[in-house]
């Protein structure tokens, strides 16, 4: 075999950095094969990534979403640089995870903070331009003398548009793009029959196919970029009429005037259009409101009261969940960490079954079992008494704690069993020789040593319970409701489920601003507790 110098195209370098000089020829051949497969795979993946990225940039530019377009462009360039140069070797491994981390974790934290300072929510859901458009559309009427054009429905890549014959000229537009003049032909009926770049949907199809019919009836094609000019709509599928709004937007003066009543609505710094007598149009836009969302919690008594009780219960729930299930797990572990007990492996499997049962199903299961009328718990264990577990605030709290302890004690049982078996036996023997009783050696030796290894777990367990949305929501939906509380808050709601109710993401009136402000508060609380606790456990470790 002749020794040929390795042929490495420049792009292949990352998968095969210059092989070390080797005394034998075959290692070149080996590394050459490596270049082939690895480089091809990388090329294919990067081609797909680039194609997707460029497509995203183009669509984003088309939709005027400049932020998304520039973020995608930056990411794409970074990815190409990282994977097609020899530099930044660790980044080749970190980049995919980092991109997801920044997009879906770091960015959303920042975005949460941003929303917390706005009045984003129902009635304030977009920019001012969007609010003007939406308001004017709501005020649109067909005017008696408005122009009517012969038209055809056109289609391109699943998007429908309207093409009209305007004095021998064909003009076409979609809901997103105002009318523009294009090449086309006008048929005998007066409507466009051919439109360049578009497929004309046959008249018969417009009249008979229900899906096309619906799409055509919903079409609203603006005449121009100025929302005051109105838009084309069709009722019969063959003629289009100009609809103009009874509201007029004056961008210079920042006012909307209702031409039927003459009322002038002025844009306020609160993100609404408000008339002189204080009446506001339903659609506003979101504006920065500073610390208002944070202050609202303290100034609005109707909100503060239930939120305080929710906060108290969140701490109680998280602390009790950890303490009770830790205690129970440790107790069971101590009892059954005894070589004289037979079939310990079998017993252990039985004990931890609740842990292996999916948590959301357990919560739903207990929801049915605790039902006051039909539930098995009242029926079997309480002689059919109608105890209102889910409807009484105190009983509901006890019940949800019971459920969470049932779910999590096996974890502590397993952890403590492991920790007990890892204890140094000589220390225990020494204590015994010194005359320490069982309780004394447990309190002074076993427990402190155990806590060293389990305390960090208890902290993360606390943080987890603090935000255990699933169990709270699945078991009782946070209920029973606190009477008089706004936003459907309930007595077993913990902060995260309360935030869910307030946010309105699941329907109803939304208040994203307030919900995000509360999220920020919880972030800070959880972060501070974790930091403090980790510092404490580090001290614990030093003592041990």
């Amino acid at each position: 075999m002749s020794v040929t110098p390795p042929v490495a195209p420049p792009g292949a370098a990352p998968t095969a950095p210059a092989p070390l000089p080797s005394p034998r020829g075959e290692s070149h051949a080996r590394s050459f094969r490596g270049i082939g497969v690895g480089f091809l795979v990388k090329l294919v993946i990067m081609a797909v990534v680039n194609a997707f990225g460029i497509l995203t940039i183009l669509t984003a530019v088309g939709a005027d979403s400049w932020l998304l377009a520039s973020i995608t462009a930056v990411l794409l360039i970074v990815a190409d640089v990282v994977y097609f140069t020899r530099r930044a070797l660790p980044l080749k491994y970190l980049l995919p995870g980092l991109i997801f981390l920044f997009a879906f974790q770091v960015f959303i934290f920042g975005y949460t903070a941003y929303i917390a300072f706005t009045n984003y929510g129902t009635g304030h859901a977009g920019s001012q331009a969007q609010a003007v458009d939406a308001t004017l559309i709501q005020g649109e009427r067909r005017v008696d003398d408005s122009a009517t054009y012969a038209m055809s429905v056109v289609e391109r890549l699943g998007t429908y548009g309207l093409a009209i014959a305007d004095d021998d000229v064909v003009r076409v537009g979609t809901p997103d793009e105002p009318l523009t003049t294009v090449d086309g032909e006008i048929g005998a009926s007066g409507a466009p029959t051919e439109v360049s770049g578009w497929t004309v949907v046959p008249r018969a199809e417009v009249l008979t196919d229900p899906s096309v019919q619906q799409a055509a009836a919903a079409l609203r094609v603006p005449l121009s970029d100025d929302p005051n000019d109105g838009a084309l709509r069709t009722r019969d599928g063959s003629t289009a009429t100009v609809y103009t709004s009874t509201l007029v937007w004056d961008e210079q003066a920042q006012t909307i005037t209702d031409t039927t009543t003459g009322t002038v609505y002025t844009a306020t710094d609160r993100g609404t259009f408000t008339s002189a007598d204080g009446e506001s149009l339903p659609t506003g836009w979101y504006v920065n409101v500073g610390f208002e969302n944070f202050l609202r919690v303290f100034t609005d008594g109707a909100l503060l009261q239930p939120l305080l009780s929710v906060t108290g219960w969140t701490f109680a729930f998280a602390i009790l969940s950890v303490v009770v299930s830790f205690g129970l797990g440790l107790l069971f572990a101590l009892i059954f960490n005894d070589p004289r007990v037979r079939a310990r492996k079998f017993l252990r499997t039985l004990f931890i079954l609740p842990y292996a049962f999916p948590a959301f199903m357990s919560a739903l299961l207990f929801r049915g079992m605790f039902n006051s009328e039909f539930g098995v718990i009242n029926d079997v264990f309480f002689f059919g008494l109608p105890i209102n577990w889910l409807g009484d605030p105190v009983l509901a709290k006890l019940a949800v704690l019971w459920v969470n302890v049932w779910l999590s004690y096996p974890y502590w049982f397993l952890v403590c069993t492991g920790a007990l078996q890892a204890l140094p036996s000589d220390t225990l023997e020494a204590a015994q020789l010194d005359g320490a009783g069982r309780w004394r050696s447990f309190r002074s030796i076993v427990l402190p040593l155990l806590l060293v290894s389990t305390a960090p777990l208890a902290i993360s367990s606390f943080a987890f319970s603090f935000n255990n949305f699933t169990v709270i929501y699945m078991f009782n939906n946070g209920g029973p409701a606190i009477p008089g509380a706004p936003y459907a808050l309930g007595s077993t709601d913990i902060l995260i489920s309360a935030i869910y109710d307030i946010s309105g993401v699941s329907g109803g009136a939304a208040d994203y601003g307030l919900a995000s402000a509360l999220s920020i508060v919880v972030f800070v609380v959880v972060g501070a507790i974790s930091a403090l606790a980790f510092r404490q456990t580090r001290k614990l470790e030093e003592f041990a």
């Binding site: 984003a60 959303i108 934290f109 975005y111 969940s321 842990y355 935000n467 993401v505």
Partner: protein, 299 residues
């Protein structure tokens, strides 16, 4: 774990009454206690099994355990969207866990094998980011996906891919530490000898390291799958239409109304869905507990 000194205590106890009393005081009482704990642990599970076999399918009729045994509820599942939800859950959980494993392993490899500037800082950064639960930012996630969806509908609201992407956002933070420790236990001499033989870093990663760290890969995959399987809040917000729901979202709808008679369906669905999870969990128990004690926690 093996039972050492098997039976010696009991055999000895049979000999004299005094020893028997001592056995009862030290070991014997543990069996009734075990029975009590087992009852506490198992009653709900036995109950759900019984309810799933009760053809009447209502909450009230399920209270007499095993009063009748019938697979009607299981058969009725095929008349619902249950199997679609199972498919969605498997797809979302599967892709999310494979992605989490790949990203976590790559990240851990980079931190464990390369020395680069900012390494310490990035590790600390990951530890801090990981402390803040993603679920708390659900409002921002919702609004962000609404915006993205206007440009790329495949990654917007009501897209399974979008949900997977959100789950993958936490992949690096949650798993890197778990894997990092494990990667560090693989001697670096293996890498070095392979490098001398002319292997590239990619070859070392895929051919040498990945096979050696399979146990931790399995644990991370399972944890990521269980996390996706059990998530409600993000799945509920992102997946809007019924044919996109996961099991958690779908089955909640069955029993959220206390008066509906879908209890039998829920019970049957739970039994079917939990058996593979139970089996997997029990067989991988040792690794999972090891993994949990180092990383994330269920409750």
């Amino acid at each position: 774990m093996t039972v050492t000194a098997r039976g010696t205590g009991r055999d000895a106890a049979r000999t004299t009454p005094a020893k028997k009393r001592r056995w009862l005081a030290e070991v014997g009482w543990k069996y009734p206690v075990a029975a009590l704990i087992a009852f506490y642990a198992l009653f709900p599970l036995v109950y759900v099994l019984s309810a799933s076999l009760n053809p009447r399918g209502s909450l009230a009729s399920s209270n007499a355990l095993f009063s009748s045994v019938d697979v009607a509820n299981y058969a009725a599942l095929s008349g619902t969207s249950y199997w679609t939800w199972v498919g969605n859950t498997l797809f979302i959980g599967g892709v999310a866990s494979v992605g989490a494993v790949l990203m976590g392993a790559a990240g851990a490899y980079a931190f464990s094998r390369f020395r680069f500037s900012g390494r310490r800082a990035s590790l600390t950064g990951l530890l801090i980011v990981q402390m803040f639960p993603q679920a708390l930012a659900f409002v921002a996630i919702f609004l962000m996906l609404l915006t993205i969806g206007e440009v790329v509908p495949a990654l917007g609201i009501n897209s399974k891919l979008a949900l997977i992407c959100v789950y993958l956002g936490g992949a690096l933070g949650a798993n890197t530490f778990l894997m990092y420790g494990f990667f560090n236990t693989i001697p670096i001499e293996i890498d070095e000898s392979a490098k001398i033989d002319g292997a590239t870093h990619a070859q070392i990663f895929w051919r040498l390291i990945m096979p050696l760290v399979t146990p931790i890969l399995a644990v991370v995959a399972l944890l990521a799958f269980i996390a996706a399987f059990g998530d409600y809040i993000l799945a509920r917000i992102i997946l809007v239409s019924e044919d996109n729901w996961t099991l958690a979202v779908g089955m909640y709808q069955w029993v959220s109304n206390q008066l509906t008679s879908r209890w039998g369906l829920f019970a049957a669905g739970s039994v079917l869905a939990s058996i593979p999870v139970l089996a997997l969990f029990l067989s991988l128990q040792r690794y999972i507990v090891g993994g949990l004690t180092q990383g994330s926690v269920k409750g």
